[in-house]
Symmetry: C2
Amino acid sequence: MSDNTSAILEQWFPRDDVVLQQLGKQVQRVILPAGHVVFRRGDACRNYIVVVRGSVRVQTLSAGGREVVLYRVTDGQTCVITTSCLISEESYPAEGVTDVETEALVIPQAVFNEALGYSESFRRFVFANQGQRLGDLIQRVEDVAFGRVDARLARHLVDRCGSRPGTVSATHQQLASELGTAREVVSRQLKVFEKDGLIAVRRGLVEILDPDALARVAGEDR
Amino acid sequence: MSDNTSAILEQWFPRDDVVLQQLGKQVQRVILPAGHVVFRRGDACRNYIVVVRGSVRVQTLSAGGREVVLYRVTDGQTCVITTSCLISEESYPAEGVTDVETEALVIPQAVFNEALGYSESFRRFVFANQGQRLGDLIQRVEDVAFGRVDARLARHLVDRCGSRPGTVSATHQQLASELGTAREVVSRQLKVFEKDGLIAVRRGLVEILDPDALARVAGEDR
DNA sequence: GACATGCAGTGACATAATCACACTGCGGGC
DNA sequence: GCCCGCAGTGTGATTATGTCACTGCATGTC
């Protein structure tokens, strides 16, 4: 069990509170492999899920068969959709898939409800997470509605490799889903970046040669 | 005071519960004129707001100065952003403006927090609302990313006038904000609809002549 | 009437999405 | 090894949208 797990459990279900201690015992820990489908569109939601370590991307399949990534849930975070579905007892409107091996806490609905009523700090955690994911979603609407593809692509690559040169492992199709655009557009844009010496592309792989220049492209607000 | 207000107050703060009764006394009712700015980007959030009657649109101003409408809050609903900002004590990431004269309940932060811990039914209401607005947002991401402007515009007009012929009062700029596109695009598309005899346009007004045909345009999934 | 202002129309151009199809690297089966 | 299949990629043609620059038009104010 990772240190994170213990810390989170201790924080929410401290030893000195008998009620929370009891609730804490019903929390399970799971480790999911990369690519595991955590929930599908239409599934009923039965558990509150907290990602302790790893990354889950939440995406939706449009009528035309295209995918957009809505947001990611990473270390110490939870998913807005899960939370609201859990309480309103609606089914999932999107799907969640692990990007990498992911460690998560699974809190049954009943336990979640009790903890929510009992502990203000738990409530605060839950809602703060809601706010953050919500902000991600709003940002996404703005990006897709107004953002230029070159800037968005550059930003995404920089985000994934940091400020040091390195490689990002993704197909053009995956990148397109991240950005809410089409594969061809990504292919062409990558070509442009490559011609400018910012990156090198190989099958399923993008090598970042000049993160600073890339960051500059990302930052140029039109 | 409208019937709705009494009903909502009675539902959340019933007479037979002394604690909730006390909390209920601190809830205020306000009537806001059309076009009133309920909250601005960057404002701190101090109250939980429930729209009893009317409509508030929540929108965001992008870096380029363009506006998108994220969703609307109407009769009996609340705003996701308000809720999560209130609990996580962050500032508003968007702004809210009344479309029409709007009657609302204003619940101070402290009262909201207490009620949330005390009443499961109140909690359920709060989160169910979160889920609905969230669904709106997801839909918006899909629309903006994949939707065709003609279909979205047609759908929007139909939504606003119903299945009977009638008039929608909005400038092209307003329509563009609703759809997350540019004014010129709306102007051109309206011209096309007009040429096809679906609508007639006048300054600040769109007259719906053939709602059925318009609905057909809206429904044609690509 | 002169002017300011907000709204709408339009052409030219840039960017992005879509469609159609060719090409390529790689792994599995033989 | 060789062939094949397939996911991944490249590219041109076409259409849809977004952007820019500017004009015209209605309305209100002085």
